[in-house]
């Protein structure tokens, strides 16, 4: 499996965010997007997720499930956590597992919640969670509905040190399983041997 972007150009609100941008990431590899604020990291992730359209260039997926599009095989972990405050932790997770994974929602729930350390809070409404706990619940979504490509936008934001280490372990396991990760970040992710794409300024 290999995701490639060639000569991508993106214009938002009449302003060119980036142009002639190339990237490639294969299964088992992680690509880290770095760069100043506004360099287009989130924009690139949303382009790959199919939530924006490129003004020029194209993104291709080799391998993977031929029945599904790139977006249907990718997880997008954005700034907004897609959690409903009135539903419990378990209900939120079950819904996304069923919707994105198209399987029985409860299958992976216990394992996913345990992996992010939220197993004790399964019956608490999500509205009572702290920012870091909401983030961890969003990360549990990646585990509850298995998809090979992870698009992570500042995944460590609001996470404490222990949770960051746990996230690193989860990402390593995902890479070891042949998955690909594209992550925008300002801090270290605790992964070894990652490729880096500097956006904006230095090119």
């Amino acid at each position: 499996m290999r995701v490639t972007g060639q000569r991508l150009r993106c214009v938002r609100g009449g302003r060119e965010v980036f142009c002639d941008l190339d990237f490639a990431v294969a299964g088992g590899e992680a690509l880290i997007l770095t760069g100043r604020n506004g360099a287009g990291k989130t924009t690139l992730l949303r382009l790959i997720a199919g939530l924006l359209t490129a003004a020029a260039g194209h993104i291709d997926l080799d391998g993977g499930d031929p029945e599904l599009s790139l977006a249907e095989q990718a997880h997008y972990l954005g700034h907004r956590d897609a959690l409903k405050p009135s539903l419990t932790v378990a209900e939120n997770l079950d819904f996304w597992a069923a919707y994105l994974g198209n399987g029985d929602g409860a299958t992976f729930r216990a394992g996913a919640l345990a992996a992010v350390g939220l197993a004790d809070l399964a019956h608490l409404p999500a509205g009572y969670l702290s920012a870091g706990q909401r983030r961890r619940l969003s990360i549990a979504r990646l585990l509850a509905a298995p998809r090979p490509i992870w698009l992570l936008d500042e995944p460590t934001a609001a996470l404490d040190v222990a949770a960051q280490a746990r996230l690193s372990d989860l990402m390593r396991a995902h890479l070891a399983g042949g998955g690909a990760i594209i992550a925008a970040t300002h801090g270290p992710l605790g992964l070894e041997g990652v490729k880096e794409l500097r956006m904006g300024g230095a090119g």
């Binding site: 938002r12 949303r46 997720a49 199919g50 939530l51 924006l52 359209t53 599904l68 977006a71 249907e72 990718a74 997880h75 997008y76 954005g78 700034h79 907004r80 956590d81 897609a82 959690l83 409903k84 009135s86 539903l87 209900e91 079950d94 819904f95 996304w96 069923a98 919707y99 994105l100 198209n102 399987g103 029985d104 929602g105």
Partner: protein, 222 residues
């Protein structure tokens, strides 16, 4: 199917929980219909004559309440992004959301309408006709409303834009809904004629609404 039933269950749960607003529409309906007799006075014959129209206008306005949050809530918390990335066709997802919205806001209006019909001195036949036309007609109001709700989200203009967009589109439904109710009470047209047209309008909106709303999301969310 799992994804769609999960979406349906989620939306019904959210609107039934605290802050979900499932009862707001019914309370608004009750308020509007109760206000009319105060405004036009205790003329029972007049109330009976315009009763079906009052109930239909009340239901139309009440079904607009909460419609602006149908997609706006999912846009604000990022759920809509993830729904676009699902394997489920967006049209079906929109239809499931609209159906859940109708179950929690439209169906209660239908159930409340016989009681409010008594307030307006309607005869049993008239009450039954209004309830039946509302049962058939309110899904059309919700599904036409999804077009407005999607446009309001895509254009980042919530609230007031929605009624302005939706009310003109709902005029045919209102006309044939009230016409069928009146036909059952006073004639001279047989009930079946306007009622069949109302059914046709509902069936059309069940198809057009989700397709139009999904097209709006595909092209409008940048």
């Amino acid at each position: 199917m799992t994804a769609l039933s999960a979406l349906l269950r989620r939306d019904i749960r959210i609107s039934l929980r605290v802050g979900g607003g499932a009862l707001m529409g019914v309370l608004f309906f009750l308020t509007v219909v109760t206000l009319i007799p105060f405004a036009i006075g205790p003329d029972l014959a007049l109330l009976q004559r315009i009763g079906p129209a009052i109930l239909w206008i009340g239901a139309l306005l009440a079904s607009l309440l909460g419609l602006d949050r149908l997609f706006a809530a999912d846009l604000d918390d990022g759920s809509l992004d993830l729904m676009l990335m699902g394997e489920t066709p967006l049209e079906l997802a929109v239809a499931a959301k609209a159906f859940a919205h109708w179950l929690t806001t439209g169906l209660p209006l239908v159930i409340a309408s016989p009681v409010l019909g008594l307030f307006l001195n309607l005869e049993p036949g008239g009450i039954g006709a209004v309830a039946l036309t509302l049962l058939v007609g309110t899904p059309a109001l919700t599904f036409i409303g999804t077009i407005g709700a999607a446009l309001a989200v895509a254009l980042r203009r919530g609230g007031l834009l929605l009624p302005i967009l939706v009310l003109p589109l709902a005029v045919p439904v209102l006309i044939f809904g009230v016409a069928a109710s009146n036909a059952a009470v006073v004639g001279p047209v047989p009930f079946g004629t306007p009622f069949t047209v109302l059914c046709a309008l509902t069936l059309m909106s069940l198809v057009l609404g989700p397709f139009a709303a999904a097209a709006t999301f595909r092209h409008g969310l940048e």
